[in-house]
Amino acid sequence: MNSNLKKIVLLVDDDVDFLEQHRLFLETENYEVVAAHSRREAEKLLETVTPDLAILDLMMDETDDGFVLAYNIKKKDAGVPVILVTAVTSETGLEFGTVGEEGSWIKADAILPKPIRFEQLKREIHRLCKTDKI
């Protein structure tokens, strides 16, 4: 962990505006942001960067990119909190949970439906990173 430095957030979404907005927001909140447009880009970044938190879009080039990426991040370091964001809930009514049966295979600590509010994201980050005082 980069205890003396800024915490690193990995931000992955194929929507350029989502990336831009959340990068700006997280930087104002004093995080260092590494951003990727796709799962492939993110996996490349992960070879050299170990994030303190990951915020991932669920559906990118493939509909399960977010799940796969979350799984890979957790496999490497189970302690990294992962937030999945998705517009799937509001559009299809499909809901995903992080507890129960689904919780066992969805490797995420929180799933937030898009559009997400900055304040909501901030609360979620604080909740997940409480122990680290991120």
Binding site: D15, D17, E20, Q21, F25, K114, P115, F118
Partner: protein
């Protein structure tokens, strides 16, 4: 396709029930035009009461129903059947061709009549007609369901596409409010992005209007002679600025007096879309070549680019609605995903055709055929 039609035969005469059973047991009705063969499965009831019991327990496609029954009458069974088995067709069998009975039974929803005595051939012909009706009904229902599903899907995707720019602009405004935007450069970038997303949304709405107008056929078409060269020069002028900015050269190869009889605004939608795509999906310093060829059948307009091209899989879905090629290279390209779908519909209105030939990372050529006589 082979289907089974379930029939309930109700008659108090044993001979009649067995005669019907014999006539239909091994009969297969073939409907070549509907690509369908139908065989028959029969249940027999000796009274109206028994028929109602059967109807409560089973579902039938067709009822052969005697009018004159000892207990409750055929008309009463008919009205029960309409409640218990509303999709079933009912054929009334009656010994006297009474107009009163016919009127009363038709009011209750009988489909047809068989006057006793009837031959096995007459029975089969009547049953065949009813079965054909059932098949057509089912096919119509299936089509209606499919239409509803397609419409629902269209609206879901449309609302997603309309919500996305709203969400983006909202996000940027939130950033301003939260005080996260400090320097002027960021400010400018955010305003530019917001405007671009709004412009994209406006484009989507206009494309949507074009598409629905053409689909509904409500648009007043005004046919006039169009000089394809002149129209294409106009289309190229529209993209000249963005092409120059990326070093893309534009070429037009067209002989004079290539006159096509059509609706100017429709042909403009076709050519503007294709020319604008050829620039949007091109590489920097690439080339767009537009050619107009003429043969005995009509015109062929070719729009060739040196762009990013498409894979086989992408080509397959190219003309669908809301289809946007999503990959690393197209991420920053704005588009409604309705353009090519509309283009294809217009070209088809003229009895023409549009094809795309493409090679990944090499470029794409669209070939539009516009036949001359068919207008």
């Amino acid at each position: 396709m082979t289907d089974v039609t379930r029939i309930l035969v109700t008659d108090d005469e044993d001979g009649m029930r067995l005669g019907v059973q014999r006539a239909l047991r091994k009969y297969v009705a073939s409907f070549h035009d509907l690509d369908c063969n139908v065989s028959f499965e029969l249940d027999l009831a000796a009274s109206g009461e028994e028929a109602v019991e059967r109807l409560k327990e089973n579902s039938y496609d067709l009822l052969l129903l005697d009018y004159k029954l000892p207990g409750i009458s055929g008309i009463e069974v008919l009205s029960e059947a309409k409640k218990l088995c509303p999709d079933a067709l009912v054929i009334m069998m009656t010994a006297y061709a009474s107009l009163d009975i016919a009127v009363s039974a038709t009011k209750q929803g009988a489909f047809d009549f068989l006057a006793k005595p009837f031959t096995p051939q007459e029975l089969r012909a009547t049953v065949r007609q009813a079965t054909k009706n059932l098949i057509l009904q089912r096919q119509a229902q299936k089509l209606a369901d499919e239409k509803r599903r397609v419409r629902f899907e269209f609206i879901s995707v449309l609302s997603h596409e309309l919500k996305a720019p709203i969400g983006a602009v909202e996000g940027y405004l939130e950033l301003f409010r939260s005080g996260a935007v400090k320097d002027e450069e960021t400010q400018t970038r955010i305003v530019e992005r917001s405007l671009a997303r709004l412009a994209g949304m406006r484009k989507l709405i206009f494309d949507l209007l074009d598409l629905t107008r053409i689909e509904a056929g409500t648009k007043q078409r005004k046919l006039e002679p169009i000089d394809l060269g002149e129209l294409l020069r106009g289309a190229l002028e529209l993209v000249e600025f963005s092409a120059n900015a990326r070093g893309i050269s534009l070429e037009l190869e067209v002989a004079p007096y290539m006159i096509f009889e059509g609706d100017r605004s429709e042909i403009e939608i076709v050519m503007n879309n294709l020319v604008s795509n050829a620039v949007k999906y091109n590489r920097d310093n690439g080339k767009v070549m537009v050619r107009v060829l003429k043969d005995a059948r009509g015109y062929q307009v070719e729009i060739e680019d040196t762009g990013i091209g498409m894979t086989e899989k992408e080509l397959g879905k190219l003309f669908g609605e809301f289809v946007r090629m999503k990959n690393e290279k197209t991420r920053h390209i704005e588009g409604s995903g309705l353009g090519l779908s509309t283009v294809k519909k217009i070209v088809q209105l003229y009895g023409g055709d549009i094809r795309a030939i493409s090679e990944w990372e090499k470029g794409t050529t669209f070939k539009v055929e516009l036949p001359v006589q068919s207008v």
